[in-house]
């Protein structure tokens, strides 16, 4: 057993740190310092900075622009970016449709789409969920009918199409064979140009007042049949293939480390009876309790990383990362709110002498963090899956 990173990995970490220190623009740095909300323009600017460095899609094959990094280096890169509070790049192109195209796409599709995902020229969104099909994706109702002219005519509504207001393309699941025997069958994986006539996007605010979600309406949208990825009616295979990617990033340990440090920094500045909360045994104990959870999650993540580095399939150790990581991120933000006490009510208002800049964004982040146990498969669904696949418990 050895918990130390190899020297070449440590050296790589230094390179990433140096890169971030020198390349992150001041305005992004300012947002990062307070963990505020990045504008889309800022995110894409950071995308291009990483692209120029060759680090925007570290997990892609080198021939398609990947960085040629091993899993540990990719992990380190991601962790350092999280620790620095760098903008979170949109995952829909880089982590979702990109890898799917690499695995299932035709050469033409790869050549058409991958370079622009990489460069950030084309922004993507995901059209899976529908108002009636959330956890139960197979019950989706959006239809795509062959019009006999080489096009599919798409009708339906997609929801949680995050980033759709900025997106050039949407990858989505549509029902191409309504007569299929099982709901999972008869579904195709389709790429839709968001500028097509009949596409309407309605952005929604979250409870954290960030404009994250959209409803996307599709009304007689004509999509060329060559935009089907993988076999016609065979989209379910692609939908399921997405779930296994880059498990070690899902725990977001870097973000939680950063968030817990912020709690400590706020606690060092928050006085009760003239004494910083950080010197009060009650608050020290509460912070320490989350520090314990963080360290456990960190080692757990390393174990999953080690398996990945060895080329092994994700084992049981990786199955708990999403549950524990999402719960921890909520707990840390809730503790931050508790530490702030009366100031927890602050809602975007600027810092003053009694409200430290670190406190400005806690409230909205705390609200938005309620999503972490919901998106990407609710934690209830995660537990169903572990019960069945990992523990082998019987299904009724």
């Amino acid at each position: 057993m050895d918990l130390r990173f190899r020297p070449e990995h440590l050296a790589f970490r230094e390179r990433v740190r140096e890169f971030v220190a020198t390349e992150m623009p001041p305005d992004l740095r300012a947002v990062a310092e307070v963990d505020g909300h990045f504008e889309h323009e800022q995110v894409m600017r950071w995308h291009r900075i990483l692209y120029r460095k060759g680090w925007v899609a570290p997990h892609w094959p080198v021939e398609w622009g990947g960085a040629g990094l091993d899993p540990t280096e990719r992990f380190i890169l991601n962790e350092e970016l999280e620790l620095a509070g760098a903008p979170h790049l949109s995952p829909f192109g880089l982590y979702m449709v990109g890898p799917l195209l690499l695995q299932f796409g035709t050469d033409a599709q790869k050549r058409r789409f991958l370079p622009k995902i990489l460069s950030g020229e084309e922004v993507w969104c995901q059209g899976y969920s529908e108002p009636g099909a959330g956890s139960d994706l197979a019950s989706l109702r959006t239809t795509a009918v062959d019009d006999g002219t080489g096009h599919l005519i798409v009708n339906g509504q997609k929801t949680w199409t995050t980033y759709a207001q900025h997106a050039d393309w949407m990858f989505c699941l549509v029902r191409t064979d309504p007569t299929a025997s099982k709901p999972q069958a008869g579904i195709s994986f389709l790429l839709v140009d968001m500028r097509s006539p009949g596409v309407t996007v309605r952005p929604m605010l979250t409870i954290g007042h960030t404009p994250a979600f959209c409803d996307t309406f599709l009304e007689n949208v004509r999509v060329p049949k060559e935009n089907v990825v993988g076999p016609l009616h065979g989209g379910w295979t692609l939908a399921k293939a997405l779930l296994g990617h880059e498990r070690t990033l899902i725990a977001a340990v870097g973000l939680s480390r950063r968030a817990l440090l912020r709690v400590k920094r706020i606690a060092a500045r928050t006085l009760d009876n003239g004494r910083p909360l950080l010197d009060d045994p009650r608050w020290r104990e509460r912070i320490a309790r989350l520090e314990v959870r963080l360290r456990a999650l960190q080692v757990q993540n390393w174990r999953a990383l080690w398996a990945q580095q060895q080329g092994r399939a994700p084992g049981p150790e990786s199955s708990v990362l999403k549950i524990r990581g999402s719960e921890l991120s909520q707990q840390i933000l809730e503790l931050a709110m508790d530490v702030m006490g009366p100031n927890a009510r602050n809602w975007f208002e600027p810092p003053t002498d009694w409200l430290h800049p670190l406190e400005q964004w806690v409230g909205p982040s705390h609200c938005y963090a309620r999503a972490t146990t919901i998106y990407g498969g609710t934690n209830e669904i995660q537990r169903n899956v572990i019960a069945k696949l990992v523990l082998g418990l019987p299904v009724r």
Partner: protein, 383 residues
């Protein structure tokens, strides 16, 4: 012992629920988020006409002379509608401070128009870096001529941006003292600040604000007991409102479980979600019990009983109330995270109620500081 509402209280609850349904559904609270004041004078006046603003205030000041139980009944209903008018800030917190510290004339002067809904009040007591400390240290009252000069700063003054007059705690030569400062006073600067519950609060600066001796509530040095009594009433009121908020979030959740389908069945058939709903229900029941306890005891003259009951109830709100609204969002899934769904508004209002008038840590500490906490504990002699 009696846990039934009186006939009047039942009518009050009915009226309040009707009011929410017809005059102030959650949609109005949602709309008021865009409003600079955050609430509507017309509605406030109507609440005055309905007799709600003086429910627990003395009759001689124009109030109904009722109890905080009446206020509890009202606020549970208003909480379910997220009614944005500053009921607790003006009609409980500031009003009770004036009631407990002011003489009859002062009570009539400041409470009567507020009770009629023609004015609103605010209490400025919190100061930077002092958390929930009662004693004003950053605001000073110097004697000057026949009156006082006030200097200092207050934060989290709810309804401070709209109030016609502010009750301000300040350190006078003979100790902490309450003053009433009209909104129009020279040297009073009020900065509106948004809050997570999207009902405005304010930062208040007092820069050589002059008030007369007649604006001092009670003798110098008398502020703390009145302030504490007012805050206990406000905390009890917050628990009542929180009960309404949590109850409404729970009702939305239950309806969602009974209608939303996934995998071909109502999601309310899933045992895990059923048990989660039961856990929410259990917390709600506990919260109802605590709201009753706090409402009954928050005007108790016996310090230990009052403090213990109110602090226990407020701590329960912070723990149990938050659990209910957090799980309400979780069980709603994705739509629960959108600003368009009401459940998020309940979540945010509860988040605010949890820290208003003392957070969990503050109230647990206060509970443990009461003599009754150690009743029956024979402490061994040291050494």
């Amino acid at each position: 012992m009696d846990f039934d509402l009186t006939e009047e209280q039942r009518l009050l609850a009915d009226a309040a629920r009707r009011f929410v349904r017809h005059d102030s559904p959650v949609a109005r609270a949602r709309r008021m988020r865009e409003d600079a004041r955050g609430w509507e004078p017309d509605v406030w006046r109507k609440m005055g006409e309905l007799g709600w603003l003086g429910l627990s205030l003395p009759e001689r000041a124009g109030g109904a002379g009722g109890s905080m139980v009446d206020v509890m009944v009202l606020l549970e209903a208003l909480g379910a509608g997220l009614v944005p008018e500053p009921y607790i800030a003006s009609a409980v917190l500031a009003a009770q401070a004036i009631r407990h510290a002011g003489d009859a004339d002062q009570q009539s002067r400041w409470l009567a128009p507020m009770i009629e809904g023609r004015t609103s009040l605010a209490l400025a007591w919190m100061e930077p870096a002092r958390r929930y400390a009662l004693r004003p240290e950053g605001t000073v009252a110097r004697r000057e001529g026949n009156g006082y000069r006030l200097d200092g700063r207050k934060i989290w003054v709810d309804n401070g941006h709209a109030a016609d007059a502010l009750v301000v705690s300040a350190l006078a030569p003979d100790g902490p003292t309450l003053f009433v400062v009209p909104r129009s006073a020279q040297g009073l600067a009020v900065t509106r600040r948004r809050t997570i519950e999207e009902q405005p609060s304010a930062e208040v600066r007092l820069d050589a604000v002059r008030v007369g001796a007649e604006d001092r509530l009670g003798p110098e040095g008398s502020a703390l007991p009145a302030l504490e009594r007012a805050l206990d009433c406000a905390a009890a009121a917050a628990v009542a409102e929180g009960l309404g908020v949590a109850g409404a979030a729970f009702a939305l959740t239950l309806a969602h479980l009974q209608t939303r389908e996934q995998f071909g069945v109502k999601i309310g058939t899933f045992q895990v979600l059923q048990h989660r709903a039961v856990d929410m229900f259990v917390e709600l029941e506990m919260l109802r019990s605590m709201a009753i306890l706090a409402a009954v005891e928050c005007e108790n003259e016996h310090d230990d009983t009052r403090r213990g009951a109110v602090s226990a109830a407020k701590a329960q709100l912070s723990a149990g109330g938050r659990l209910v609204v957090q799980q309400a969002i979780q069980l709603h899934g994705g739509i629960g995270i959108t600003d368009e769904h009401d459940v998020g508004l309940f979540f945010k209002r509860m988040t605010a109620l949890a820290v208003l008038y003392g957070d969990e840590t503050h109230h647990l500490e206060r509970l443990a500081a009461q003599p009754s906490f150690l009743e029956g504990v024979d402490r061994p002699a040291p050494g």
